[in-house]
């Protein structure tokens, strides 16, 4: 069963590789992009890693990632020009379909949960199956053909861009940190100040650290790997806290930090520019009471639910 699941997952990763390949081809064809070759290489490398990575030595994959890092550092990766959608088509289609346009999304979520819950294949296969089923429904509903799917795949992947690959890179960073013993050092440093073993103190420490680190970095995903390894595991999970609760509420504590920081520019400063607001911190000021209250709620929930 495990090997069957792994084979199915490998197939899904190869499909993802195919969408990256499409993004690479279309990036190369985008003559308006001054860095089109760098961008095409960026996507091609990910296409290779997802398509055939399992047959490559790990060190080769690692080296390819360093190339990705170099391309990004030298600013050779840009989204480029993406053709905007035809408003007439979408308006006419919205008129024809009405609320049915939401059907594929509902099928996606429901199928993913059903496969995870009621088959032995598990959650990851569920997501892949749900993505394919919902795409077929969407094609049937909108009468979209292969060409449209190709076009929309490259458009979506390219516009998500390097931000889309960042979560996986952050998870990888977590692995490197663990292998280097960063978590152990952090845990040791903190336990010299705070005693390990007190459940409430551990929960407060972890949730507040998630929020504070996110305020500094502007990104809860980045804080998650570091803070969970350094504080969440030794101070909460190792003390008997349920890992699933700690993860879910720990990340949300980070989101409370996101709501409080100008570092999260997309969320807190972009609207200031979009709506020509006078107060650059206006959005954060409106968010602060809720963010702080929610952080306290996360702490209470984690303390109650994890133990």
């Amino acid at each position: 069963m495990t090997s069957l699941i792994n084979n199915i997952l490998t197939f899904f990763y190869m499909l993802i590789g195919a969408t990256f390949l499409i993004a690479s081809i279309e990036s190369a064809r985008d003559k308006t992009n001054s860095t089109r070759w760098g961008t095409a290489t960026f996507w091609l490398i990910f296409a290779v890693i997802f398509g055939v990575g399992q047959w490559l030595p790990n060190a080769v994959v690692g080296a390819l990632l360093l190339v990705i890092g170099a391309l990004s550092l030298l600013k050779q990766v840009k989204v480029g020009h993406i053709k905007s959608l035809n408003k007439e088509v979408s308006e006419a289609s919205a008129k024809r379909l009405g609320g049915w346009i939401f059907l594929p999304s509902i099928i996606l979520a429901v199928t993913a949960i059903l496969v995870a819950q009621f088959t032995p294949f598990g959650g990851q296969v569920g997501i892949g199956v749900a993505a394919i089923v919902s795409l077929i429904v969407a094609m049937w509903l909108t009468k979209a053909g292969g060409k449209t799917v190709y076009e929309d795949s490259q458009r979506m992947v390219r516009s998500v861009g390097s931000a889309g690959i960042l979560p996986q890179l952050l998870a990888t960073l977590g692995v490197v940190f663990t292998a280097s013993g960063v978590g152990t050092v952090t845990a040791k440093a903190i336990s010299s100040v705070f005693p390990v073993g007190n459940h409430l103190l551990g929960v407060v420490l972890y949730c507040v650290a998630m929020a504070v680190f996110t305020v500094i970095m502007g990104n809860a995903f980045a804080a998650f790997a570091v803070i969970t390894a350094g504080i969440g595991i030794p101070f909460v999970v190792a003390q008997g806290g349920a890992a699933v609760v700690v993860a879910a509420l720990g990340m949300t504590s980070g989101y409370c930090g996101t709501l409080l920081t100008p570092m999260a520019a997309n969320f807190n400063t972009l609207p200031v520019a979009l709506m020509e607001m006078k107060d650059p911190l206006g959005v954060i000021k409106q968010q602060a009471p809720i963010a702080i209250t929610m952080l306290i709620i996360q702490i209470i929930l984690m303390y109650v639910l994890a133990f």
């Binding site: 995870a116 993505a131 280097s180 960063v182 500094i216 699933v244 879910a248 709506m275």
Partner: protein, 224 residues
Amino acid sequence: MEYIKLIGVLVIILGFAFKLDTVAVVIISALVTALASGIDFTKFLEILGQGFMDNRMVSLFFLTLPMIGVIERHGLKESAVSLIQKLQNLTPGRIFDIYLLIREAASLFGISLQGQVQFIRPLINPMAQAAASVETKLTNKQVDRIKARSAATENFGNFFSQNLFVASAGVLLMASTMKSLGYKVSPNGIALYSIPVAVLTIVLVFWYNHMFDRQLLKEGKNND
């Protein structure tokens, strides 16, 4: 000097704080951490490569993009807009309430719209301003506050409900990171334990919006 291992954390903090390219910052942080901890370069490449391969599940959400792209082309946004435009004769706070509900429902089904660009500026903000100016003329300060609250509502809905969807990047990142740290956690479980947060957000923000309306009303009376 064991604390030298924390140099990668410093790189991340400074790199993000100075808004350097995030992908590059993450990879540099990994490199310096490994080297500072006495891991040799070849070994580092192996750990990096294997870590990336082991965490491929985090990127599974890419598989959902073609479908989202197709429905977006065929009027996803337009249908959502006409749904929201049906909200007539409401106070600003009520408009925010209903937008929050729609936003959380969308998250539940994995629809992540660029809310600030697609809905807040062109739709929710003007609707809330129009609703607020029925009773009284708005001051510049009030206009600014309505704008800020419109944007805040989108962020509340986005952040406190995105973990409800099992194939969201955040949920997959958590499951994968916990696996790397030696704890098996299912995406379904994470989504399940995210429900209380989503529900409490609705309760709390509804009350917050109610206070928003009351304050506008009070200020309106003082203006007259």
